[in-house]
Assembly symmetry: none
Homo-oligomer: 212 residues x 4
DNA sequence: TATGAATGAGTCTTCATTCAT
DNA sequence: CATGAATGAAGACTCATTCAT
């Protein structure tokens, strides 16, 4: 919004360094903080303290706080997306693929809880070009869900008439998935595979179906 | 109803004034801003500008920004809770009551979109006593869902063995419901009754059941 | 300083009401607060709460916070001054009058601790005409001390050569007297008469003299 | 000397930086302002303007306005205390040591008028741990006076019966000393050595003794 | 007399960011 | 690569005071 020009100028070299162990610690620490307190609540000083960097030193790795957020989302979300696209390409019937989509999503969540939470709840903290870029990843991820669910529901692709129910069902699914961040706690709750099974049963057959 | 007394007792300690048309405009304007930008992004100056108050003038109505947030959540959530408790007491079988729970929730949402969004996503912006108070409302609302879903699933109340699946299913439902804030737009999407119907079908019979 | 014009205009009717029980409670409560926390630390809200007045209601009795301070100092200090002037006129030799000066000062202090503390430590919180007026009372009070001490020291009045030592000795005395505010506590310490005796002995004969 | 370690331990928790020419200018400028207008009257903007810092820049050197006040008091008072403790250890009879106590106090005052005034009149502007820390320095300084005065008065250390008069006499002395801030002006009044002589004569032999 | 409601000016403090080294 | 030092802008909140009633 505020600096489209700067954003597009910067995009090519948004940051100079994109790997290294220290860099990983930086993104990881920042993600942990932002997942816990939210992006705007998290100060650069917090991140510096958490990661052992100096305040100024961090700016070698990204251009701004927003850029830091962007890098976290970009890395995490594109990894998840790639993983799911590849995995879904391996075939299976619609129900099976739906089960795998859910399972992999939750498995990824357990491995990258902080990062994924940030991806899910901090999109709006991005603006301009950065927002667009992440938004487009999200749209692609959503499309994956829509395709499978349409197939499960027996809706012909492109059927305008049935588009809304499919879209809604997909949104229901992502709602369930994204709400997991709010309550799931590794030690206390069942494992992600078990949870994935329950959720897939729920989605496919509902409360009554999955019981009988 | 039965907790209006408790509610007013609780709020009286926190703020002096509790009614009046100007006061309504204040809470409403603040909720709108906070729903759009988030609590911590919303400045008191924003609220003042939006509501036509002076910065200092608003502090006549609440003691702090956090107190303002608390008042919004307290009013909204206790109204929703009372409404659902009363409505559910009117009977019907489990599936029917589940449908009504969803329908009333979405109907309430459409009437108080900003306020409910703030209730759902800004609990963690509260702390101490205020957090506890809202958290307890939320727990009661969740308990309503658990009771109905256990009945739909045919689980005996108190069954330890089946507690987790029931809890999970309830969380799935609230995940769907709460995610609605993220995508639903009155003009563009179908009406709340229709959406409620789709969601209830989805919850009861799943993707496959609700089709066949 | 800031509004000499307004000050002189206002002085004649600095306040409309100068008596009444409520008015006494107001000045007394304010003095207590200001003695404990200092003038600038004491808010008009504090005074309202302490005295049971409404914020706006107090402004019937004085024009401004500074005027409130002025009234406290004016009343208290002129009462003390009148009392001492009258008492000293009753004669006695120099040492005797010095003892009485100290004794009456401490007796007055015990009766009006808060007010006198405010007189002593908050002169600089006044400005313009109000400052001048209290300063002149203070000067007259100081002159009382100077006269007696010169006599005790056997210095001829008007002796330029001996003026500094007399002035210094008087300042030493008032230093002792004014520091009493900082440590004296009615319940814990000896009575004011006893303290006055010790102080007078100290002033007249010093540490060594008062022992032998 | 022996408590330098303790002092630096204590301050390190409170502020990061403890030396440097700029830092000195900061404390000095702040002390000057606070001596003139009082702590609560002195705004951080005043200090910034006086010292040439930016408002935010000052916060690099202390955590809060109160911490700034604390640092001024801590530095000044522990320097004075160390100086007196060391000097008194050099011996001499009681009267001689009393003269030296007064003389060094006034000499120190002339060198650090602003800082010492702040130490004397703004202890109550501190709170919690900071208050305790300075209060304990003050107590030690007071104990120095009590010991000498007891000796001058010929009171056995530990004599419960004579404790109050000794304590009072010491408070008289500190009253005189602390009131100096209120009237002494370097150019106008006599030098500190002369004043110290007069005060010591006064304390030892009183108004009558010092004349005869 | 008395007050509920309101406000302009100002307070301390924090934040993301920069730059010389 | 890294950081100590510094800052402009903005944030929540408070204060003495006023005015219609």
């Amino acid at each position: 919004m505020k600096d489209d020009a700067a954003a597009s100028r910067g995009e090519a070299e948004v940051s100079r360094v994109r790997s290294g162990e220290k860099y990983e610690r930086l993104l990881g620490g920042a993600a942990a903080l932002m997942a816990r307190q939210g992006y705007s609540q998290t100060t650069m000083r917090d991140v510096a303290r958490e990661t052992g960097f100096s305040l100024a030193g961090m700016y070698y790795y990204f251009k701004s706080k927003e850029d830091l957020l962007f890098q976290i989302q970009q890395r995490t979300f594109s990894e998840l997306l790639a993983l799911q696209e590849e995995q879904l390409a391996r075939g299976g019937d619609a129900a099976e693929r739906l089960r795998r989509l859910i399972d992999r999503h939750l498995a990824f969540y357990v491995r990258h809880a902080d990062e994924l939470k940030v991806c899910t709840y901090e999109l709006d903290s991005l603006s301009g070009e950065k927002y667009q870029q992440i938004e487009s990843l999200r749209r692609r991820y959503f499309a994956l869900g829509v395709a499978i669910i349409a197939e499960v529901m027996g809706v012909r692709p492109g059927s305008v008439h049935e588009a809304a129910p499919v879209r809604h069902a997909t949104l229901f699914l992502f709602g369930m998935l994204n709400w997991v961040f709010m309550w799931y706690r590794p030690g206390r709750d069942c494992g992600p595979e078990q949870l994935a099974r329950e959720m897939a049963d729920f989605v496919l057959d509902g409360l009554r179906g999955s019981r009988s």
